[in-house]
Amino acid sequence: MTIPLSWYLLLAATLFCIGFFGVLSRRNAVAALMGVELMLNAVNINLVGFWRYVRPADLTGQIFAIFVLAVAAAEAAVGLALMIAIYRTRRTINVDEIDLLKG
């Protein structure tokens, strides 16, 4: 008995929603960044799931997943560096207070 593709997709969708909710709702910028990681991983699940069920002969899905991991790592590094820089100047990483671009 195999687990059908739709379960994976549901899991990924759930994970994505949790991540997105995290991004939208957390005051702490680091937590929001963690939400972003969740969203990226939800995408990874989708990629791997589709590869396994739709085109197992190709390596495209796996390669893409590794690509996303690498980008996520870089994004985390840049994001955290930004957090530190903002913290140094403004003594806070509360995203509600970071609104310099207000019109």
């Binding site: 939208l24 995203v95 970071i98 671009l101 207000k102 019109g103």
Partner: protein, 738 residues
């Protein structure tokens, strides 16, 4: 030899440089300024004589083809106007006279423009006039004007230099602009300057009209170009319509307009009124500008333009007749006024007017050579006379001071009172017996007066005047001849009246008794000029004259005669004539003898009225008041002007009212209509629609901006939420097939 002529254009330059150097740099250093000016003018003198003598040496070649040098100056649309210099016989003799006289007068000014310390001890002026440097700057600029006028090769340049001289004349007449007199009707230097400037302006405007007409008719202002026979013929044959008067030959109209310029500049009737009042200027100025050079520029202009006048003469309406009439009339008219003047400089001023009239009369009858000759001779002896009168005035002023000082020692009580009384050092009634006190001035003045009277055989004035009379006799202008002869008689009379009143008899005032001779820098120019006042005339003695005539050979007359022929002026050497010669000897000696009878035999006593006053009665009063011309022209501040002038003033008032209410009314109505219309447009179209559109655009953008800016919270999460909502909305749109 011809290379010397290349100096010609440089002649006016040194005084111009001196002018700028003085006003810009050396103004505080008085002696440096005057030395600079004298040095510059002496340089011009040397160059003028080089050019003049180079011409005299080569005139046989040069009369037909005058030296000319020019360069393109103004593009005129149809061609290029050329500016340059030219030397013909007239220019050469003028350069000979002008350069020399200028230098003499500059040197004289060096001694004349002093300012004795006792006049105002508070001023520390080193004994020099407070505006000493300025004086030399002005006369340097004047020298540029005169020399430039002489060498100019076209009428426009001539006119420019003419106006430079007019300006300098104004500045120099009003040089002592702060001077006032106790008599409110005595004209002050400031008023005299204005009067001279405004009176000559009338002539200058008419002259400019003449030049414009000439340029319109021929497209040329260059002398040689105008004097081409075909151009002159064209001018004589074309006609110009004058409103109300009819059509005249263009040559006549232009000649008469040009002559009006000369009337103004040379103070001929009816614009003669400014010259006697111009004597308010310093005496070197009177000698320089108002006797020797600037006033003779008018005569020079007519001499220069004589071919045009001759062309006008061939038409039926001779412009020459007008010139002859004005000249002869002025010669007699001014001579009569000079009889009754007591101011030493005023007599000379009227005599200048009269002598210039002589020259115009000569030009009017076609005696071109004689007029030029008389112009040069007159400049020498009239400069001498004016400088002599300046020396006399200086001497009498010194004597006046000396006499006051002497009185002061005897009784201090009288001193102040005496000092307050106005003393006129120019009034001949305050002089007398000066020959013993001032021998150098006295003898040179007598030589000058003899030359002016035309003392027979010896003096320059005799030969030049005689030639004019001979010409008038020969050409059959009997009326002109007798008028000029009468004027010559009066001239001899008033000249020696002046000599006897000033230098002979006993001193009539303490001032005259204590007069002192002037300094060397004043008397030396007098002596040099005195030599010229006699010897210069010898170059123009007619060849037929027994003895001297054959030896000297009339070099001036021959050269100018050749030049006249080159200009097609129908010059013929005069045959020997006894009548004019005898008449000119008789009037000259007769005038001197009459003056001796009246003033020399029994000199005037102090306070004694002029004998003429008794004999001539009311005529004397008229002459004393200069035929009431100042009253007629309304130029006296406190005298009710004559009826005709009052009418003119009334007419002016009426015309002004017409101008103010009708002409200005129309102009203003048009203007106001324009303004109102524009205002309506502004209110109802510009502000409403144009501004509305512009402001509306801005307003919309502003409102949109103020609404949309609310979206920009700066919070990343809010943006993300909007993205989410947007995506959801898009999905809903797609999925529900809206």
């Amino acid at each position: 030899m011809t290379n010397v002529f290349n100096l010609t254009w440089l002649i006016p330059i040194p005084p111009l440089l001196a002018f700028f150097a003085i006003i810009l740099f050396t103004n505080p250093h008085k002696r440096l300024s005057s030395n600079l000016a004298i040095g510059a003018v002496a340089l011009s003198w040397v160059m003028s004589w080089l050019v003049a003598f180079a011409y005299f040496g080569n005139w046989h070649v040069l009369v037909e083809e005058p030296f000319a040098l020019s360069l393109p100056w103004l593009p005129t649309g149809t061609g290029v106007f050329r500016m340059g210099v030219a030397v013909d016989a007239v220019t050469a003799v003028m350069l000979f006279m002008v350069g020399f006289v200028l230098t003499m007068i500059f040197i004289y000014s060096h001694g004349y423009m002093t300012f004795p310390g006792y006049l105002d001890p508070a001023l520390n002026t080193d004994g020099l006039d407070p505006r000493y440097s300025r004086f030399f700057a002005y006369i340097s600029l004047f020298a540029t004007g005169m020399l430039g006028l002489v060498v100019a090769d076209n009428l426009l340049m001539l006119f420019v230099f003419w106006e430079i001289m007019g300006l300098c004349s104004y500045l120099l007449i009003g040089f002592w602009f702060d001077k006032t007199y106790p008599d409110p009707n005595q004209i002050t230097p400031k008023q005299a300057g204005l009067k001279a400037f405004l009176t000559t302006r009338i002539g200058d405007v008419l002259l400019m009209i003449g030049l414009l007409l000439l340029f319109i008719m021929t497209g040329e202002l260059n002398f040689q170009a105008i004097f081409k026979p075909e151009v002159l013929e064209h001018l004589a044959e074309s006609h110009l319509a004058i409103p109300f008067l009819g059509a005249f030959s263009a040559a006549v109209v232009i000649a008469i307009f040009i002559f009006w310029g000369a009337i103004g500049k040379s103070a001929q009737f009816p614009l003669h009124v400014w010259l006697p009042d111009a004597m308010e200027g310093p005496t070197p100025v009177s000698a320089l500008i108002h006797a020797a050079t600037m006033v003779s520029a008018g005569v020079y202009l007519i001499i220069r333009m004589q071919p045009l006048f001759a062309a006008a003469h061939h038409g039926e309406n001779g412009a020459m007749l007008f010139v002859a009439f004005i000249g002869a009339f002025t010669a007699l008219f001014a001579a009569t006024i000079a009889l009754a003047q007591n101011d030493i400089k005023k007599v000379l001023a009227y005599s200048t007017v009269s002598q210039l009239g002589y020259m115009f009369a000569a030009l009017g009858i076609g005696a071109w050579v004689a007029a030029t000759f008389h112009l040069i001779m007159h400049a020498f002896f009239k400069a001498l006379l004016f400088l002599g009168s300046g020396s006399v005035i200086h001497g009498v002023e010194h004597g006046h001071h000396h006499a006051q000082h002497g009185h002061g020692e005897h009784g201090h009580g009288h001193h102040d009172e005496h000092h307050e009384a106005y003393f006129d050092p120019q009034d001949m009634r305050n002089m007398g017996g000066l020959l013993r006190r001032m021998p150098a001035t006295g003898w040179t003045f007598i030589i000058g007066a003899a030359a002016l009277s035309g003392f027979p055989l010896v003096t320059a004035g005799f030969w030049s005047k005689d030639e004019i009379l001979a010409d008038a006799w020969y050409t059959g202008h009997t009326l002109v001849f007798w008028t000029l002869a009468a004027a010559a008689l009066l001239t001899a009379f008033y000249s020696f009246r002046q000599v006897f009143m000033t230098f002979f008899g006993k001193p009539r005032t303490e001032a005259a008794a204590h007069a002192v001779e002037s300094t060397r820098s004043m008397t030396v120019p007098l002596m040099i000029l005195a030599v010229f006042a006699i010897a210069a005339g010898w170059v123009g003695i007619p060849e037929w004259f027994p003895g001297v005539g054959a030896i000297l050979g009339n070099p001036l007359g021959t050269m100018l005669g050749a030049q006249a022929e080159a200009y097609h002026l129908h010059h013929k050497p005069l045959p020997p004539q006894s009548v004019p010669l005898l008449v000119s000897i008789v009037v000259s000696l007769g005038g001197i003898f009459l003056a001796w009878l009246v003033y020399g035999r029994k000199p005037l006593e102090a306070g004694q009225p002029d004998p003429l006053e008794r004999w001539l009665g009311p005529i004397y009063t008229v002459l004393r008041h200069k035929y009431y011309f100042d009253e007629l022209y309304g130029s006296l501040p406190n005298v009710r002007p004559a009826l005709i002038l009052r009418f003119a003033l009334w007419l002016t008032a009426v015309l002004r009212a017409f101008d103010t209410y009708v002409i200005d009314g129309i102009v203003n109505a048009v203007g106001n209509f324009g303004r109102r219309f524009a205002r309506a447009l502004r209110l109802f179209f510009d502000e409403l629609f144009v501004d509305g559109a512009v402001n509306g655009t801005g307003f919309v953008a502003q409102v949109a901006g103020s609404v949309l800016r609310l979206v920009q919270t700066g919070q990343v999460q809010f943006y993300l939420l909007i993205v989410l909502l947007g995506v959801l909305a898009f999905l809903a749109f797609v999925q529900l097939g809206l």
